[in-house]
């Protein structure tokens, strides 16, 4: 299997990464190298093997339902690129 430049453009959009035309070729070549490595997996027989998505098999711990957080808006928004009236500003959202 090998990725095309169209694939690279598609996932770059999906991942919200601007990749210009000169970069696309470079990225395509590098990703194909990486996928060459990954391809080995295909050959492995994993019939009936339970996928492992956590390093340890534990059950989810649950929190009691109490609201203890205080208002830290000022501290949090001190590192924000653009705020006004306590709101984070972004380029117009179009629904």
């Amino acid at each position: 299997m090998s990725l095309t430049q169209a694939d690279v453009r598609r996932i770059a959009r999906l991942a919200r990464l601007q990749v210009n035309d000169t970069e696309v070729a470079e990225v395509e070549q590098k990703l194909n190298g990486i996928f060459g490595l990954i391809e080995q997996l295909k050959a492995i027989d994993t019939e009936g093997v339970e996928p492992m998505s956590h390093a340890r098999d534990v059950a989810l711990r649950l929190r009691e339902d109490v609201a203890t957080e205080t208002n830290r808006r000022a501290a949090f928004q001190a590192v924000a690129p653009a705020v006004e009236d306590g709101l984070y500003l972004v380029p117009k959202v179009i629904e």
């Binding site: 059950a59 989810l60 929190r63 339902d65 306590g86 117009k92 629904e95």
Partner: protein
């Protein structure tokens, strides 16, 4: 050609917890923007989610209430997409294994009962809000709502009309408020419906292409939106166009639906199990405890009202339309009122007055025991029905007890035979002509005489007694 409408609903119910699903921020509505957005809610680098037990418990309550399967092990997954009201760039939801699977809800349309099957209900986090007032060409983002626990309830595409869809949504709305897992406040977005609509020629097996109407927060809009969408789809097809799968919004002003411009549906969400959250495990003991604490559900209560109080099905259905009305009724009967009279008064005078004043029965000026006393006075003949209605008005305004008003205004019914005979004698003497008519066989004249007597007693005379004495005197 004959068209069949196919509708399925996805309803987002905000679970009424104190804190958010994965953080200890308050879930209160309407506070200053971003004052209820903690480090976890705004997804600072390095923060992690910790699951709220109450949200899980409410999901279990719902599952049991609709007779669904509670999965002993369910998985939280990440739904990846970029949107400014989604701070992490992914929503924590449940994908392959939800907490609740299956279940049923019975709806009534006209006098038809219909069972709607549910697909699943899963836990997820709500997003924040985009504030669209113009900030010199920018939008504002408020994350107070981000992380509010949601139970997304997904139905099978089994509804065949707008009426059925509304009935289903209303049934779910009353159920979630009845069992107390959601405040049901649709204006504040606590209960939001996404409606999947498609049409197909009557008799065709396979479904038509569906369009999803997002975020309907009133039953009225839902009905308008569905009716418009159905008409639109039929016209498109009849004009030879194909329906494209799409997500649309309903605009109440134009009464029309329009495609969302944000290509939300074009996304590839790349779901995968959230590595920050091990599997949610629910044991038997927990489920049994929740089951034992589950309140009596509307259907069960209806049946009980009929058998226990001997009232008709119609009364039982009306009185169990809300938990508040049901408990008001039971309290009235418990305070000594006759079950059927209590039902009549509550469905009649009380409901009418509450509707007129747009009040909820929970804050009725006349409490259940006060109403019971009034009804008891009718039962023991102290006052008659007509007087009772006037007394209720006064109770409503002044808040006095029935007895106080009866005493003060001297409304006590006259049942002293001597006094009644005296009144009757006067009336007979004053209406010799009528007496003659009666004696000559005019039955109507009798009623006229009764009326005169009641009038003379200012309505206080016991009508039954008047009848009896009058008959005797007229021989």
């Amino acid at each position: 050609m004959q068209w069949e409408v196919v509708i399925g609903l996805e309803i987002h119910t905000q679970l009424s917890t104190q804190s958010k699903i994965f953080s200890a921020s308050s879930t209160r509505f309407g506070n200053e923007p971003n004052t209820q957005a903690s480090a976890v809610d705004i997804a600072l680098p390095g923060v992690l989610p910790v699951m709220n037990r109450a949200a899980v418990e409410k999901a279990i309550q719902f599952g049991l209430a609709i007779g669904a399967k509670i999965n002993r092990k369910s998985i939280f997954a990440r739904k990846n997409y970029f949107y400014p009201d989604l701070p992490k760039g992914y929503q924590i939801s449940q994908f392959e294994v939800p907490v609740v699977e299956g279940g049923q809800v019975t709806i009534r349309v006209g006098d038809q009962d219909k069972v709607i099957n549910l697909t699943r209900a899963h836990l997820e986090e709500d997003a924040g809000k985009s504030v669209h007032e113009d900030f010199h060409g920018m939008s504002g983002i408020d994350l107070n709502r981000a992380g509010t626990p949601l139970l997304e309830i997904v139905s099978e595409p089994e509804m065949r009309s707008a009426a059925e869809a509304i009935a289903y949504a209303k049934a779910l709305h009353s159920l979630v408020t009845w069992i107390g897992i959601c405040d049901g406040n649709m204006q504040e977005g606590s209960f939001r419906c996404d409606v999947n609509v498609s049409v197909r020629p009557l008799g065709q097996k396979e479904f038509g292409t569906r369009r999803e109407i997002k975020n309907l927060n009133s039953f009225k809009f839902m009905e308008q939106a569905i009716k418009y969408e159905v008409q639109w789809q039929i016209e498109q097809i009849e004009d030879g166009h194909k329906i494209q799968q799409a997500t649309v919004l309903f605009d109440p002003d134009s009464g029309q639906t329009r495609m969302m411009r944000s290509k939300e549906d074009a996304h590839d969400y790349r779901y995968f199990p959230d590595p920050d959250l091990p599997p949610l495990v629910i044991d038997e003991a927990w489920i049994e405890r929740v089951r034992s604490e589950l309140p009596e559900l509307p259907e069960a209560m209806q049946a009980r009202f009929q058998s226990q109080y001997g009232i008709p099905a119609y009364d039982a259905a009306t009185l169990t339309s809300s938990k508040a009305m049901a408990s008001y009724y039971e309290a009235t009967v418990a305070a000594g009122a006759d079950a059927k009279l209590a039902s009549n008064w509550i469905m009649g005078e009380i409901s009418a007055t509450l509707n007129r004043e747009e009040r909820d029965i929970a804050d009725s000026p006349v409490a259940a025991d006060a109403l019971a006393l009034l009804i008891r006075r009718v039962m023991d003949g102290t006052i008659n029905n007509k007087t009772a209605k006037d007394v209720l008005k006064k109770m409503w305004e002044a808040g006095d007890s029935a007895d106080a008003i009866i005493e003060r205004d001297g409304l006590k019914q006259e049942s002293d035979t001597g006094a009644i005979e005296a009144i009757i004698d006067e009336v007979l003497a004053a209406n010799a002509a009528m007496v003659e008519e009666y004696k000559s066989g005019k039955e109507k004249a009798f009623n006229a005489l009764v009326g005169q007597c009641m009038k003379a007693s200012k309505g206080k005379a016991n009508p039954a007694q008047v009848n009896e004495v009058l008959k005797r005197k007229l021989g």
